[in-house]
Symmetry: C2
Subunit: 415 residues, 2 copies
Amino acid sequence: MDCALISIGDELLIGQTVNTNAAWLGEQLNLLGYKVVAGVVIPDDENAILNALDELSIKADLIIITGGLGPTKDDITKHTLCDYFDTKLERNLVIEQQIVDYFNSRQLPILQTNKDQALIPSACELLPNSRGTASGMWFEKDKKIFISLPGVPYEMKGIISEIVIPKLLKKSNNDHILIHKTIRTHGMGESFLAEVIKDWEDKLSHDEIKLAYLPSPGIVKLRLSLLGKNQKTINLKLEEHIQYLKKIIPNQIYGYEDDTMEGVVGQLLSEKNETVATAESCTGGAVAKMITSVSGSSAYFEGSIISYSNQIKINQLQVEEKTLNEYGAVSQQVVEQMAIGVRRNLNTEYGLATSGIAGPTGGTAEKPVGTIWIATAGPNGVKSKKLNLGYSRERNIHVTSLSVLNMLRLELLQN
Amino acid sequence: MDCALISIGDELLIGQTVNTNAAWLGEQLNLLGYKVVAGVVIPDDENAILNALDELSIKADLIIITGGLGPTKDDITKHTLCDYFDTKLERNLVIEQQIVDYFNSRQLPILQTNKDQALIPSACELLPNSRGTASGMWFEKDKKIFISLPGVPYEMKGIISEIVIPKLLKKSNNDHILIHKTIRTHGMGESFLAEVIKDWEDKLSHDEIKLAYLPSPGIVKLRLSLLGKNQKTINLKLEEHIQYLKKIIPNQIYGYEDDTMEGVVGQLLSEKNETVATAESCTGGAVAKMITSVSGSSAYFEGSIISYSNQIKINQLQVEEKTLNEYGAVSQQVVEQMAIGVRRNLNTEYGLATSGIAGPTGGTAEKPVGTIWIATAGPNGVKSKKLNLGYSRERNIHVTSLSVLNMLRLELLQN
């Protein structure tokens, strides 16, 4: 099916808002196997809307319109749609009541323009909006489908996911449904990971599962998508492949869907009723910040010593001056003493430590920018690891923080 | 002048890339006083390009095309432009040499497709790309201007800022130029700030200076834009208004253009050759992370005690147990003791401290979520301040970190 997108809104044309709706819709339609042939952005203007509908209905079978449905703006869009589909607005009393309830429950004053969001073209099928007051609309004309949706991304996405996609699948594919699963990995770059899981990827394509690599610094998300008839069968098939992947990269998979590394580690610490503290040099508090970004982290996080200077390493963590002089601050010996020191001084089960050259300057021939040592100290002793990262300070700090938390995660799973 | 934007690229249609180019271009054209009447996104396809050119040249006087000029793709776009403008490709030897030099200097292998980026339609005026290998092109036909640019945002923005805007201004306005200045403020919300600087805003409009409020958590940027003939005169006029604004909100303006709070504070500490340490409870390392995000911060940052638990506040910062019991961890008394403690223990000129209820849970009737105390301790004694923030944990942590750094900034300016 060929699709086209119409985005209505002056704010998009003057660049006040970036058109993320079109990108999101494009991705969803592509996953369904549909082809997006064109996208247009137009002002809140009757002629512009009519022109766009005329032009795009020649090129596409499905036209999705977003925007132009807010309480102050929907007048133009809805009247124009009535013209185009030769129909009239009718007040939908059920929707009107929902709007009144929505405002009352939030103790907000309600205006006539708000109530008028219940005026719906008679010729359309209403697409209820569970997340706001502007209803979506589904029209059909000359075997083409036209869908009009609010421009607020959260509301638009709700109507698409909850109603439009199931309806399109039902219409075109005999009750097919589309299910995504996301696997979160850390510790292998995209190309290296792709090489390691090559055979697994081949097996996916035999089962008609689509795979997308979604890389960000320190993390590669793998998104599996499968279209099928039966939800249970699809889930089972996806789960089977995920279990197989776990055997190939057991240490790299740290979570699924919206899991975060700090959330997963926090969950493990909570379950075991154990605590952690950090001693940070090159990450300068970034590990502590990640841990404490989780609400409730005070149950397992005691605190940190950020020992940016050597003096603080000596005074607050009892790193030996001799070791600092002999091996330098960026060394296995120092990072291990830091982890041991913070565990002892803050009286926790685990101590994490980082020391390295975050960059962009400060490197030497022997220890170039991106040379970073990380360590964990715990009931089973101290472990350390050297990372060889790049030249971006921000990225180095972030990847180091993820890495030391992943080290702790693996420790917690073993004990 | 009415403008239209054509974005070429399959990656835009399937949502792999968000069309930030169109938003940026829309904003620039709007600042120039031009009106963007339409934007279209089309695939790398000859007919789609020809159709878009036909349709949009009816609606607009200036058509800007982005994308479709990479070494593997420019074949279609450039041949189509040659068809449309009835011209032929010619090899530009100067550009070819630049491409060869570009690859040689980076020690990259060069392919024929790379060299073919020097094939330029004869009928166009070449727009040199100082940031990459795909040249921009300027065509005119039937009194309409058509500009074709590479899709890589960094390269596209370079050609627009360096060449296209000056050329458009020269063409339409007799050597006018457009200058922006950004003022960065912290400490007042957008609406409150707008109220405080109302008269100043009126004065701006008398001088035909456009003002944009660009809010983000804890920060409101004010962007002034002025179109005029003489760069020096424009800069003087803008500077005059900025000086006047400084009198109205002296404590809120922390920087200009791309300044950051942590960069400005770091600069002040460096100049005075003074040092800082932080004692963080609710920010959990976020202040230290901000400070150390600046390369070279080791010159003035010694370290931190992240005292998430009360025991760490007592053991590592010598906060009195009695004070904790009497006033609670989130109190003026405790946050002041923390600032004093970290300054003393880490032996720095300044100590910063934070203690509060970051949320989303943990609030009480007396101390609701968002109740946060911050303090500075320094040569001139200890100062503290209470913040009443909202319910978002992430936002509360970020705004608190900005606030305590701004407190230090004001201290440093006074001493």
